[in-house]
Amino acid sequence: MSIAAPQRTYDTGLPIRDDLGAAHGEIAARWSRPGTWWTGEQRAEIVRQVRAARDHRTDDGGALPPWVQPSGIEGLVDADGPLPAAAADAVWRITNHPGTLTEDWYQSIIDRGVDPLAYVELVGLVAQSNCVDRFADALELPRIELDEPADGPPGREGAPAAVKYHWVPTADIKMPNVIKALSAVPAENEALFILSDAQYVPMERVRGDVVSDRNSLTRPQIEVLAARTSKLNECFY
């Protein structure tokens, strides 16, 4: 993977590392380009739906409950927009209630016509935009603006994949299961690596090196943050 020279993604006096700003800039630029299974317009819409899901508040001030599909509520999802309703519903559910997802739910999205490999790409985009936007929101910085979507068809060049241990198809690679998760769509796995390298620990060192400090944090401090955030998201993995 390669990232362009450091660029100024955030205009702030906060000490945001150049490599972190560059990673966010690179990932955000990819959001509006044709992907592997979605067009640039559809990918940008996925990010817009993540933002809508996070910003929407019900009358009681909470997020839309997990059992409510936003495509069924007037005004939340554009029925004539670029995304199938099932994809928009998946975006909202993964964004707001990741700890409630089940295999039956996943299958219901596939049964509504979302291709399993397109779903993998969608998960990658939802995860990336939750990461990048939550960083900006927490520091009271403007979210990165989406570029005008680039024209062109999706590349449709995924890795050979099959359902093995995950719900979704994965490539036959020897890596921890969470790194295999998006492996059927290599571009999204690369994006995962770019963000993790800048914000956590290089993927190849996650388990091979559990003692080295990283940037301004010690490894135990990093793992407290990782574990506390994972528990809040009710993530067993």
């Binding site: 995860a127 998006l182 401090q221 574990a227």
Partner: protein, 117 residues
């Protein structure tokens, strides 16, 4: 260093043997809750105690795990067989075993879906 799991379970449980552990947990909680007032207070507290570099890097790590959790739980990622026994004490101490997202290591599934496109 003796490290325990208090900070993983909440910012009101102490540092758990990790420098600024409770303040780091508070940052993660504030990001989860999304309350701007509490987020500002959590940022200020950690910045005062450890510096702005630490605060920014802490926000980045927590944000990263809003990504990783969605990747894991959006794809039905099961626990790795090699970590199942090793993580048992952590799962117990942090009360994780009842999560809906629990997916223990498993044998290969039938290849009911291939790369269909």
């Amino acid at each position: 260093m003796d490290v325990s799991y208090e900070a993983v379970n909440g910012s009101d449980g102490g540092d758990g043997g990790v420098p600024h552990g409770a303040l780091l947990a508070r940052i993660a909680e504030a990001m989860w809750e999304g309350d701007a007032t509490e987020m500002a207070a959590a940022r200020a507290a950690l910045t005062d105690a450890a510096g702005a570099d630490v605060m920014v890097d802490a926000v980045a790590v927590s944000a990263n795990f809003h990504m990783m959790t969605r990747v894991a739980d959006g794809t039905g990622t099961p626990l790795d067989p090699g970590t199942y026994d090793m993580s048992a004490p952590v799962r117990e101490a942090c009360d994780l075993n009842g999560f809906v997202s629990r997916r223990d290591p498993q044998g290969e599934r039938q290849t009911a879906q291939g790369a269909s496109n």
